[in-house]
């Protein structure tokens, strides 16, 4: 009898939880217990990590230090180039009258737990509602996109990784702009492109970047590198496999991306207004000296 009551109760709860949003606040509040439990649960691992760090010898540290310095140098060089490129990009975009954001705002976050179910790829991060995290927010690491926030609790949130079987992301081949959808396979080292025509121009080594379609992920972040393209005449589509660029099962620190909340239309209007104001300014400057050639003027805040 009691079994029946509890079974019905559980079933009802599950249906309500899956179909409606009434239970969200309750869940969020119950989520408060999640962080301490995961913290305690990962204690052995962290104690071990701390111990190995304490016990690592001086020579090891020196080697690591040198490696990091070399890496930093390489990064610095890239950064120098990047500054110039960003500036150029901003100017070109101005010429095109588009004000798409070149740089998004980010918030650093740390991994605090992994979903105990090995068949789902979800992780827990240490930022939540109180830090401004919202549902569907993209998460990246140093090398590429990792996934999106699927559950927000007061101080923590759950992130669904790209490789989960229930996850798909719209991508683009960086080389030629070919669009596709990359779906998770349940294998942390593999994504699959669905419904790619057999004749499509896609080959091994192609970089896939997020295309920004679907309005969920910002465009232009690296997602995966194509590892295999199989043309099977018995199949209606080519089988394309790719390896995610982000280290989905190794990254400890991640970035939460805050994309521009304005819609494309708002952005266009605002950029048009800015352009108009700029034109007027140039015109006013040009009026006193009519014969002086109009210098190409860029707004000072453009080069951020």
């Amino acid at each position: 009898m009691r079994l029946l009551v509890f079974t019905v109760l559980s079933a009802a709860l599950m249906v309500v939880d899956a179909r409606f949003t009434w239970l969200q606040p309750l869940r969020a509040q119950l989520g408060l217990i999640v962080e301490p439990v995961y913290w305690a649960g990962s204690l052995p691992v962290r104690v071990w990590d701390g111990a190995t760090q304490e016990l690592s010898t001086r020579s090891e540290l020196t080697v690591e230090n040198e490696k990091l310095k070399a890496e930093q140098l390489i990064m610095q060089r890239r950064l120098q180039k990047l500054a110039a490129l960003t500036e150029q990009n901003v100017r070109l975009r101005e010429l095109l009258n588009s004000a798409a954001l070149v740089d998004d705002e980010v918030l650093a976050t740390e991994l605090i737990g992994i979903d105990p179910n090995p068949f789902t790829h979800r992780i827990l991060i240490d930022k939540g509602e109180k830090d401004g995290v919202v549902l569907g927010q993209p998460v990246l690491d140093a090398r590429g996109l990792m996934g999106q926030v699927v559950e927000v609790m007061p101080y923590t949130s759950r992130v669904l990784l790209l490789t989960d079987t229930t996850h798909s992301i719209p991508v683009q081949v960086n080389r030629n702009g070919l669009r596709a959808i990359a779906s998770g396979t349940g294998n942390p080292e593999r994504l699959e492109l669905r419904h790619v025509a057999d004749t499509a121009d896609i080959k091994e080594g192609d970089l896939l970047v997020s295309s920004g379609m679907g309005q969920r992920f910002p465009a232009g972040y690296p997602v995966a590198i194509v590892s295999e393209v199989i043309h099977d005449s018995g199949q209606p589509f080519a089988i394309v496999r790719a390896v995610p660029t982000a280290s989905l099962n190794r990254s400890r620190y991640m970035l939460l991306v805050f994309t521009d909340p304005r819609t494309a239309e708002q952005r266009a209007t605002e950029s048009a207004q800015a352009q108009e104001a700029l034109d007027r300014e140039i015109l006013q400057q040009a009026q006193p000296a009519k014969n002086a050639p109009a210098a190409p003027a860029y707004p000072p805040e453009a080069a951020q």
Binding site: L3, T7, S10, L13, M14, I33, A40, P116, D164
Partner: protein, 161 residues
């Protein structure tokens, strides 16, 4: 007070430990066979103190597990209630059995629980692969004698009743 100490807090402490174990980080290859800690601990207390720990307790703990795992609210609750129900039904016989026989029966019980888990997961869309889902049941059944002895020691030493 000291004469009739019933130390119920020990039960809750062990359940807290089981919850912790069920989400603690493990090496990747061991994750597939993560034992059903909650099921194991619950089974012991249901067998030992059926008047204290029953389906209501199981359901509440299951809800907590759901929040921790981020699964649908009610999923683990249902499964733990089911395990408790089966153990309660077999209660009289199970207590008479030698250890290895208990393990065998529990293998079937946990296997059934995992099967229900699989169905529920399939309903919510995450495609679960192969026969790997029976592995946790197997590991749990193999762990049962040790868990049982450990908890029995705790039970006797602290006089929980």
């Amino acid at each position: 007070m000291a004469v009739r100490a019933n130390n119920t807090w020990v039960i809750w402490l062990t359940f807290a430990l089981a919850l912790l174990l069920s989400v603690s980080s493990m090496p990747k290859f061991m994750e597939l066979g993560r034992p059903l800690w909650l099921g194991l601990f619950l089974t012991y207390w249901v067998l030992a103190l059926p008047h204290r720990v029953g389906m209501t307790t199981a359901w509440c703990i299951g809800l907590l597990a759901d929040v921790l795992n981020g699964s649908l609210l009610g999923q683990n609750a249902l499964i733990l209630t089911l395990i408790t129900f089966l153990v309660l039904t077999l209660h009289q016989r199970l207590r008479m059995f030698p250890m290895w026989q208990q393990s065998t029966v529990l293998l079937v019980v946990f296997g059934l629980a995992q099967l229900v888990q699989l169905w529920l997961n399939a309903l919510t869309g995450s495609r679960p692969p192969t026969l790997a889902f029976v592995l946790p049941a197997l590991v749990s059944a193999l762990l049962w004698p040790w868990v049982c002895m450990l908890l029995r020691g705790l039970h006797r030493r602290l006089g929980v009743n």
